[in-house]
């Protein structure tokens, strides 16, 4: 243990404190929370979690979120793969302009798009469906996926493609059986970032849904205001939203740092 490791330790401690507080609160009763300050739960309770797991309006929020996030990840990666391949291997009319234009879509404030998105998806009859949220999140996830995948593909020598063609592989067969396995780390990283940004985004998800596809994060804001200020319940729901991210991050831990480094702006 060297002297300089004190910095990351302090930083991680700082990161964990608010999370600890959220988790600790989720095991307290609302009464205990409001009655005063206590560092640990005095009367440990699982009541808050029980409410969430037994009330459909709560647990469907989770299911909805997971459905549209997965859908978005699949759509983004599927369309980004060929596009990233084109950007990394070929030059074509307007390729640089197109690449920059794609990136500009990450710069648009979601607040700007909320109302037009509502009108657009209502007019095509997709309002309050999982597909609407999944498609809307493509706005910022596809550019990111193309960017990351292009970085990984750029690291694969072109000779690989050429050898495969000489050996008589057709393009689709080469792409699926040789190229994809080569860049599977890149696909993992891109999928991770799509998952992450779709999971944490709320403004568009909330605007595009009413009941049937309502995300968990939106359920939280509503219940917190209608049923008084149920802090324990809110904390339990918040704690549960951290878990999917934590699971995903554990699987891609070795690639996250690499993913950004290989991309280019």
């Amino acid at each position: 243990m060297s002297k300089r490791s004190i910095i990351p330790i302090l930083y991680i401690l700082f990161l964990m404190l608010p999370i600890y507080w959220l988790v600790a609160m989720s095991f307290k009763t609302t009464n205990e929370i409001l009655s005063g300050f206590s560092l640990f739960p005095q009367t440990f309770t699982l009541e808050n979690y029980k409410v969430i797991f037994t009330d459909p309006s709560w647990y469907w929020g989770y299911i909805n979120s997971i459905i549209y996030v997965s859908l978005n990840t699949v759509i983004s990666i599927t369309v980004a793969l060929p596009a990233a391949y084109a950007f990394s291997r070929y030059s074509f009319l307007g390729d640089k302009t197109l690449f920059f234009w794609l990136l500009t879509n990450r710069m648009a404030p979601a607040a700007v798009f909320a109302l037009p998105f509502f009108q657009l998806y209502s007019s095509v009859g997709l309002f309050d469906t999982h597909l609407a949220v999944a498609l809307a999140h493509c706005l910022f996830n596809i550019p990111l996926a193309v960017w990351i995948l292009e970085g990984f593909m750029g690291g694969v020598p072109k000779e690989l493609d050429e050898t495969a063609y000489v050996d008589g592989y057709s393009f689709p067969r080469f792409f699926v059986t040789i190229f994809l396995p080569t860049i599977k780390a890149g696909v993992g990283v891109a999928a991770f970032f799509c998952f992450m940004f779709s999971w944490v985004e709320l403004l568009l998800a909330k605007t595009l849904t009413a009941v049937a596809a309502k995300p968990i994060a939106a359920t939280m804001t509503k219940t917190a205001s209608s049923a008084g200020y149920e802090l324990g319940l809110l904390a339990a729901a918040g704690t549960l939203t951290i878990i999917p991210g934590a699971i995903v991050i554990y699987f891609v831990r070795n690639y996250i740092a690499k993913g950004f480094a290989l991309g280019r702006v």
């Binding site: 991680i12 759509i75 990450r106 710069m107 706005l139 809110l234 991210g245 950004f260 702006v265």
Partner: protein, 287 residues
């Protein structure tokens, strides 16, 4: 060398269609609103550039823009150096690397309104861990619903908590790509730690830092959910950043014309700053 191939357009087409559907149609809707006036009943009148003029001259817009720039400036000036320092002091190999990476990335994976709610209960004066500690243990008055300064400190601290890890992860990725030989050469030359940082580590981190600063700029400039949940823009208007003000005008007052004009100005500023920064940072590479 890339092969010239116009058929590559076919590969890009699905991306183009999906993004265009999501980007062009809504932006055209916004442009459409920005030049019209409505009195309800779906009746619209041509307004020309009136809304743009009104927004550009309004004090409300100027002060929201000022707060937005101040916020983004504070975020960049704190998160970027802090992120670099943490990345420099992280272990390069061993079992602690994945532990660091996983725990540091965790805040970025929490839904934004949960981040806001979490910081809200963390800073409540009577029952929040931080709020209680500052008020009762340190004896300093701290209540972000009353004092604008406390509200500002809280939203900045929250963002530092939420996003510094992005800078850390990117800088770290740049650092681990430096071959050991560079450090050995520096050691033989007797270079000081500062010289090693300035002439070896910093240049190697330049690309990833450009990405980090660009992403942090765009995201902090467009921030909405977290401060909205945490402070709601208050006390008064002290933490009403641009997006919060925009949503107030668009959905609160339903003034679609001014809101649309403001959206376009807002978007244009983000684009302009990003483009300037990107061009400046990549100028040397082009030579």
């Amino acid at each position: 060398m890339k092969t010239e191939n116009q058929k590559a357009w076919l590969f890009v087409l699905p991306v183009l269609l999906l993004v265009a559907f999501n980007a062009l149609i809504p932006i055209m809707t916004v442009v459409n609103y920005s030049v019209q006036e409505t009195f309800g009943d779906n009746l619209f009148f041509w307004e020309g550039l009136g809304w743009f003029e009104q927004i550009l001259r309004s004090d409300r817009f100027h002060s929201a823009l000022g707060r937005q720039f101040l916020f983004t400036f504070l975020i960049l000036i704190i998160e970027v150096p802090l992120g670099i320092i943490i990345a420099l002091s992280m272990p390069k190999k061993g079992i602690w690397v994945p532990v660091c990476l996983v725990t540091m990335a965790l805040p970025m994976l929490i839904p934004w309104n949960v981040v806001g709610a979490m910081w809200n209960i963390f800073t409540l004066p009577d029952i929040g861990l931080l709020g209680y500690f500052i008020n009762n243990t340190l004896g300093i008055e701290y209540n972000m619903t009353r004092s604008p300064i406390a509200a500002w400190i809280t939203i900045v601290t929250m963002d530092v908590w939420h996003w510094t890890s992005l800078v850390v992860l990117l800088s770290y990725a740049g650092l681990v790509s430096i071959p050991d030989a560079y450090y050995q050469a520096a050691k033989i030359d007797g270079a000081s730690p500062w010289k090693v940082f300035r002439y070896i580590q910093l240049p190697k981190m330049k690309t990833v830092l450009t990405i980090a600063i660009l992403l942090r700029f765009m995201d902090s400039f467009n921030i909405y959910t977290e401060p909205f949940v945490l402070t709601g823009g208050g006390p008064g208007n002290s933490t009403t950043l641009l997006s919060i003000d925009l949503v107030k005008i668009a959905l609160g007052q339903f003034d679609l014309g001014p809101a649309a004009a403001m959206s376009l100005i807002y978007f244009a500023i983000t684009l302009l700053v990003s483009w300037l920064f990107y061009t400046l940072m990549t100028k040397d590479d082009a030579k």
